[in-house]
């Protein structure tokens, strides 16, 4: 299981590195223009560490991801994603994951991000992708859907959440300084969160 998780984290690193300029452009419109640069720096370091070490347990992989992002990103996304991954490392097992596990993982990630950033849904942040994605997983679990359908629904909901940030006004982070002028732009954090969720799901399926 650890090998597959390592592969997923390596793919996630590649996706973020490939989207460095896109994320930076989104951030330049409403923030300080470093989201892609910062995340790519963190994930590049993660890639090096993943490639040079062997792992036997999933929680080690998520802990390494957390600490590497915290130490190397240099912007708010470091502590935010870092704390999300750190929380995930505390609950993830080495068993095959079912929908209950995925709901727990998503809730822990959200709790970690909220602990650091104090944001709620609707504030034009990464949580506007992640909270609807987690809600979708919960609904699928409550409706007894199979894992594949649940993950496909989750991905679709995450994409909608990301796109919904275009019409939102930012009330957290550097984008909030722009007030109403933040409306009309897709949030970079919501976009990086979508890219991660998309890579996790497509690699898992």
């Amino acid at each position: 299981m650890a090998n597959k998780t390592k592969k997923i984290l390596l793919e996630t690193s590649d996706v973020i590195i490939e989207n460095k300029e896109y994320l930076t452009e989104l951030d330049a419109a409403i923030g300080d223009g470093d989201h892609g640069i910062n995340l790519a720096r963190g994930f590049k370091k993660l890639k090096e560490k993943l490639e040079n070490e062997t792992f036997t347990e999933r929680n080690e992989l998520f802990k390494l991801t957390a600490m590497t992002l915290i130490s190397n990103v240099g912007g708010a996304s470091g502590p935010l994603y870092g704390t999300a991954f750190l929380n995930i490392s505390k609950v993830i097992s080495d068993e095959r994951l079912d929908l209950d596990d995925l709901v727990e993982i998503a809730e822990e990630a959200i709790a970690g991000i909220q602990k650091r950033g104090k944001a709620e849904a609707g504030e034009k942040t990464m949580l506007d992708t992640i909270i609807p994605a987690a809600e979708s997983l919960k609904q699928s679990r409550d409706n007894n859907l199979d894992l594949e359908t649940a993950l496909n629904n989750c991905l679709e909901t995450a994409a909608e959440g990301m796109k919904n940030t275009i019409e939102m006004q930012a009330t957290k982070g550097r984008a909030s300084y722009l007030g109403e002028r933040s409306i009309g732009h897709q949030d970079p954090g919501a976009t990086s969160a979508y890219l991660m969720i998309k890579t996790f799901i497509t690699s898992y399926l």
């Binding site: 300080d32 240099g74 708010a76 470091g78 550097r174």
Partner: protein, 132 residues
């Protein structure tokens, strides 16, 4: 003596703020900075903040001044990693960086305790610049 840590996204802001604050010192206190990332790029370095908080003399407390979002966020995260007794001796001042650091340097170097230094910074750092 209470010591001071200045955390900024910019190494230049951190260095300049320290320079201004040092000028007002009435006695020896330790003013340290954690500014920027990778020796001069803009950003906050959580590892550097951790290293400073661990190495600084914390016996009478440390007052922290930080600028924007991730500086505050990184500080809060790193603080939680420290032992609880040390956490209680490290306080983030709810104040603008430059004014807070200058006021803090004066108060701390006059031998005020942690509570007093924080109270003065928070009370006096928002000044009416149109009516000095």
């Amino acid at each position: 003596m209470v010591n001071i840590l200045i955390i900024s996204h910019s190494l230049k802001i951190a260095e300049g703020t320290k320079e201004l604050a040092e000028e007002m010192k009435q006695d020896e206190i330790d003013i340290q900075i954690a500014g920027g990332i990778n020796n001069g790029e803009l950003g906050t370095d959580a590892d550097l903040i951790e290293q400073k908080l661990k190495s600084m003399d914390c016996q009478d407390g440390i007052v922290v001044l930080a600028d924007l979002g991730s500086a505050v966020m990184s500080f809060n995260m790193v603080k939680e990693w420290l032992p609880e007794e040390k956490q209680n001796l490290i306080r983030l001042a709810n104040a603008p960086l430059v004014e807070g650091a200058v006021l803090g340097a004066v108060e701390a170097s006059l031998g005020k305790n942690l509570e007093e230094v924080i109270a003065t910074i928070e009370e006096k750092s928002i000044i009416n610049k149109n009516n000095l």
